[in-house]
Amino acid sequence: MSKYRVTLRPALDGKQPIQRNGVSLEARPEGTLLHLLAPPSTNELPCFSEYAANLSLRPVSPGQWFAVGDTALPHADLQALASSLKSEADIVDQSHGRIRILVRGPMAMRVLAKGTAVDLAIFPVGHSATTLIGHITAHVTRIDEDAFELIVLRGFAESLWDELVQMSLEFS
């Protein structure tokens, strides 16, 4: 038995939301984040919506999606979802492994444009893309006209947060 106790704490624990003129940063709750993997030729998962009404589905790459929710999914529900999707896709629970950061405000696009080459001006609401922000791989979803949600690997979350703080400094 190790003398060090493993304690669960959010990756962005202690990071207060940042409020600037025209842009805000906020760590989203570590609720549910499932990685759905299907053959690359799969265009949609018709079975998904009827079983997981409170999870939103975001395309990652051909045949892959993230299913995202603010609250933790009980184990039984995850099992039920996995068995109902069995013929379509496999599920990997990444709730502990990927962190969501919300960048909101009229200047959110200007802040993110400093880090990524994706043209956010022609990025429709609801659209997702996996890209680099600086040197960190992140998944970007435009969830509203002026709001972008980033999904990043847990180990990179603090670095990305610090970079976003720097990138938004001009609006303070």
Binding site: P40, V60, S61, P62, A117, A129, T130, T131, L132
Partner: protein
């Protein structure tokens, strides 16, 4: 090197998102001669002009692509998913 690569899944992205593996060559038959295999594994042409390479969209969709580009003008003629068979 070309600085914008058009991924068939993600659209135009900077080359920093990609990893280049090298020339896209046809794999010899398993029972081909040792000379043919040595050639396939180690020997590379270094052409000035058209070149076909495997690129991996590491920081994007993570799909392997075949990029058809010009080593002199940096022009990219075609990109396709490596899993897509070419009908020649």
């Amino acid at each position: 090197m070309a600085s914008l690569v058009t991924c068939p899944h993600c659209g135009a992205r900077p080359k920093e998102e990609f990893t280049v593996k090298g020339a896209a060559l046809t794999r010899p038959a398993p029972d081909a001669s040792q000379e043919t295999w040595f050639d396939y594994v180690y020997l590379r042409d270094n052409p000035r002009g058209a070149y076909q390479e495997y690129w991996h969209h590491t920081s994007g969709c993570r799909r392997w692509l075949v990029v058809n580009r010009d080593t002199a003008t940096h022009e990219i003629f075609e990109t396709r998913d490596a899993a897509r068979k070419v009908t020649a």
